[in-house]
Assembly symmetry: C2
Homo-oligomer: 153 residues x 2
DNA sequence: CCTCGATCATTCGTATACAAATGATCTCTC
DNA sequence: GAGAGATCATTTGTATACGAATGATCGAGG
């Protein structure tokens, strides 16, 4: 018995499981494509998508604890730790003791970090547009609305 | 000058770059949510999404070289190597020499691998449905159509 | 046949991703 | 103000992900 006959055999229905049509596979491929566009389009800033997300969030917030930055960018504490370490190593953010909480440290952007975000913002906008290029404007609105619900449900 | 004023200053337009609205961030969150649903729902098979993708593809194809399996599942050679190693270690697929090409090896499912796919297929289908649960049937069709174009453009 | 570009698989290095465990500290409640 | 449960950050271990380099082999053209 071959795989495509399995659902029929099990449920007396036509086969429906094609990997290429599964939403998980498509989400992964679309995310993969975006990451490739990002790395190609980010230019001299040489940031990864997650480094950009963390940096732009620190600049927007002004300062934040590491765990809070992770929550804002959807990274768990173990993951944000490495991202912050690399941004610190490049002199884009700083870390100082939090006088109000001795467990926590306060992250803040450096002048270089702020300048890099300002210089890179047009590229980031272009990356989002290039990612959405397969869709026309009306389709983009619909897609983003549905994707938002898929992401935060 | 604060970040939210940058686009206005640069382009004389209202600020538009909010990380939470960027398509890359939303794709990542949606993929993240799917992975969590998968790991929760895959049950006793205890497979990762990529292990499932590789296994189900080997079962469907009957046999395939490692690089070909990687192309079919969108994994590069370095990545598929580890996935195949773990599936072999669990006795779900086998590897043999390719008589027609001494560079390549032939991967094939074991009886246990085929049986695991058969037993797990209902869970995999349920996972796809649970992932799409935030959308009603009409929205699902639209979303999948647009996502397909975003993935393969 | 012979060589040159392509392909197969591996390895190394770097960067997410997340579960789980840990130690320090905070906060809430009694 | 003391203990319990929550939170901050780190570390360890496993699993993708991919660029780049490598060595072996293949296939096409001359």
């Amino acid at each position: 018995m071959v795989l495509k006959d399995l659902p029929r055999a099990l449920h007396h229905q036509p086969s429906t499981y094609a990997l290429e049509d599964q939403v998980g596979h498509l989400l992964r491929r679309a995310h993969q494509r975006h990451a490739a566009i990002f790395l190609e389009g980010i230019g001299p800033a040489a940031l990864t998508p997650m480094q950009w997300a963390a940096l732009v969030t620190v600049v927007r917030e002004g300062k934040a604890s590491q765990n809070r930055l992770g929550r804002l960018t959807a990274m768990d504490p173990a993951t944000i730790q490495g991202v912050v370490r690399r941004l610190r190593a490049r002199g884009l953010i700083t870390r100082s003791a939090d006088p109000a909480d001795r467990r926590a440290s306060v992250l803040a952007p450096t002048e270089a970090g702020i300048a890099l975000v300002e210089a890179t913002l047009p590229a980031a906008i272009a990356i989002s547009e290039a990612t959405l290029a397969p869709l026309d404007p009306a389709e983009r609105r619909i897609f983003l609305k549905l994707l938002q619900r898929m992401a935060f449900a």
